[in-house]
């Protein structure tokens, strides 16, 4: 999967889970940049990403992400 495809899928997942309108993620985005992205929605987002992409993360991987770009880097390794 290419980076642009992943971003597109992530946008759709974030919009579905957060449900506060269109979302256009970029590599630099963090939790603080996306309204509605909090610790509770983060669990739903991770589950949705894992289900949608048929991958699994580890808690260490998730805790290491500093921004969306690092999340995508991790997805690309799966």
């Amino acid at each position: 999967m290419k980076r642009a495809e992943i971003i597109s899928q992530l946008n759709a997942i974030f919009e579905d889970i957060i449900d506060e309108g269109p979302i256009s993620l970029s590599d630099a985005n963090t939790v603080n940049d996306v309204d509605g992205w909090d610790s509770l929605t983060n669990v739903q987002l991770i589950v949705a990403i894992e289900k949608s992409m048929n991958i699994r993360f580890t808690s260490e991987e998730i805790q290491a992400w500093k921004n969306v770009g690092e999340m995508i880097d991790c997805i690309l390794t799966k």
Binding site: V43, Q44, I46, V47, E50, K51, R56, T58, S59, I62
Partner: protein, 132 residues
């Protein structure tokens, strides 16, 4: 975690008059489909239809009381009602672990409620978190 993929859990639930009455008081829903036999018959049902959301209360009991751990919290719950439930019906409830998400300590269950005639009353998904 205390769960393995495809672990299956079974319970039986009965929509007793007490359950019906207490749910009615809790919800304050007195729609005639649930309270008026004549109205329900006029709409094509053999008797008054039980509140579908009583089944959500049964799910609450299942998650809160019937799992191998009490360290749980419900994240989300989806239900699709397939066939009406009537007073005093016994429902067989079956849930199996359909997803394990270790990174966020979340478990997903697929479940169904089965009526005495074998038809599905409702089915859906539950996602819980396992509290550390």
């Amino acid at each position: 975690m205390d769960f393995q993929l495809n672990d299956c859990f079974k319970q039986q639930f009965v929509v007793t008059p007490k359950v019906y009455k207490h749910f009615q008081e809790c919800s304050n829903d007195r729609n005639p489909l649930h309270t008026d036999e004549d109205f329900a018959r006029a709409k094509g049902f053999p008797e008054k239809v039980m509140y579908g959301n009583i089944l959500n209360a049964f799910i609450s009991y299942f998650i809160g009381e019937c799992l191998p751990t009490k360290d749980v919290i419900i994240h989300s719950q989806e239900i699709a009602f397939k066939n009406p439930v009537y007073l005093n019906e016994t429902l067989d409830f079956e849930a199996h672990v359909s997803g394990i998400y270790d990174a966020v300590n979340a478990i997903e269950f697929k479940y169904k409620f089965i009526k005495p005639d074998g038809k599905i009353a409702a089915k859906g998904l539950i996602q819980i978190g396992v509290l550390k």
